[in-house]
């Protein structure tokens, strides 16, 4: 019997994205540029995070017309975002046929207590996390892929670095703990015990772990790969730059060859301006997206 939507099939889809770049796009033309540059998937949105910040108000799931337009334009996988806790938006996206759903803090949360029960879906989910406890809570709910939250739409890598460093150092700590200490640690970081035990045994997250939230240059992407990311999401960084096609290609190559500094130097020449960016410390607490979800 053929089995669909199994843990292996859902997590396996994310394994196939490793070493790649997933790009935010808002229409078919941008999706084609992303695919031609070597993106491994695109995230179909109504606005990129920088524009969501600028627009204010409530940010919701994209108009299905945009999602369908993007799906028709490219042969690579198409992801789309649902609001935290908004399982109906997620069911709609699944029905549309998107390949991956991002339960995303970039949109205005629909539920301040509960995230979506992601085990209830055939389509896989990616969720943001700032630390290991948050990552394992999302995996416990059925997420098949994790990404750092970073601070979306800022073009500022500092928060993504903070989150990935935190996650990797916690993983190293858990791996070196004695088994006796695991339950107390599970309680302390709010992580499901069985998943924490897996991290202890394998020394890694049970799912693929990408970087997101602030990647704006080829060097940013390479930095995140060095810090242990399996791949990179670029939101506003491409289509808010001066030359999206060149930025997209350069970020793809820098992600593959993240240890080749001469190459990254060449890729970075005459790229034009990266997105302008925002100093994260200038954001008010209620303007921060990373604190959405728990």
């Amino acid at each position: 019997m053929a089995q669909q939507g199994t843990e292996r099939v859902k997590r396996g889809m994310a394994e196939m994205q490793k070493g790649g770049v997933i790009m935010d796009v808002v229409n078919a033309e941008q999706a084609r540029i992303a695919e031609a540059a070597g993106a491994v998937a695109v995230m179909a949105l109504e606005r990129v995070p920088a524009d969501i910040r600028a627009a204010g108000g409530v940010a919701r799931m994209a108009d299905p017309t945009i999602v369908e337009e993007v799906m028709a334009a490219v042969s690579i996988p198409v992801m789309a975002k649902a609001r935290i806790g908004h399982f109906v938006e997620a069911k709609v996206l699944e029905a549309l046929g998107v390949d991956y759903i991002d339960e995303s803090e970039v949109l205005t949360p629909a539920d301040e207590v509960f995230h979506i029960n992601k085990g209830d879906f055939t389509v896989p989910f990616v969720c943001g996390a700032r630390d290991l406890g948050e990552a394992l809570r999302r995996i416990g709910e059925g997420a098949s892929m994790i990404r750092t939250k970073g601070e979306p739409g800022t073009g500022n890598i500092v928060e993504a670095v903070r989150h990935q460093r935190m996650m990797q150092s916690q993983i190293r700590k858990i791996a070196s703990m004695s088994t006796d200490e695991l339950m107390a640690e599970a309680k302390a970081i709010g992580a499901p015990y069985e998943l924490l035990k897996q991290v202890h045994e394998t020394g890694k997250l049970p799912v693929v772990n990408f970087a997101a939230g602030g990647v704006a240059t080829p060097a940013d992407a390479a930095l995140m790969m060095h810090l242990g990311s399996d791949g990179v999401f670029v939101g506003s960084g491409i289509f808010k730059s001066d030359n999206p096609e060149r930025f997209a290609r350069a970020i793809v190559e820098a992600t593959t060859h993240y240890e080749d500094y001469a190459l990254i130097g060449n890729l970075s020449k005459n790229l034009g301006n990266a997105m302008k960016g925002i100093d994260v410390t200038s954001l008010l607490e209620n303007e921060r997206m990373a604190v959405r979800g728990w």
């Binding site: 292996r8 099939v9 396996g12 196939m16 491994v40 389509v123 190559e253 593959t256």
Partner: protein, 198 residues
Amino acid sequence: MKIGVLALQGAVAEHIQLLQQAGAEAVTVKRVEQLDELDGLVLPGGESTAIGKLMKKYGFDVALQEFSAQKKPLFGTCAGLIILAGEIEGQDWTHLGLMNMKVARNAFGRQRESFEIDLPIPGVAEDFRAVFIRAPLIREVGDNVNILARYKDEIVAARQGHLLCASFHPELTDDSRMHAYFLQMVKEYRSQVAVGTV
């Protein structure tokens, strides 16, 4: 025996793990200069469009033609199968174009249609757990291609001399029998080199 896994993008670590489990030395390959020291190469699952573009950019398209001309074995899974195909449905170009077969990309549909199932693969296993993820299919094969496995009458694994491919992902299981089969092909190649027939 030293086997490389093309590491431009995709599920590289999983192939390395299974190759080691099957008894080979396995290394990641990001530069064409590394190909000389290898006895065989795995083209992993990933996104074929992304891998294909990076292959071309870094000269793997030409270098792997030479690699194959020396009869060094190649094993492609999912995206790797598309990279090996001699014809790709709906497009007028190929990546390496090495195998005499026509393939269809995303032939089962989108991710929600992805699935896993036990398949018999004669000469490899009776019940191999085959994981299909936005998988391609082999529509037709030439006379010199052996069909290794079918799912619902469609061809999902094949071999043409020193070239092996599967539309599913053995690397997403802990079953190394398909990799052991590939290592056997590499041994055959090495014994042919030893007697000077290639």
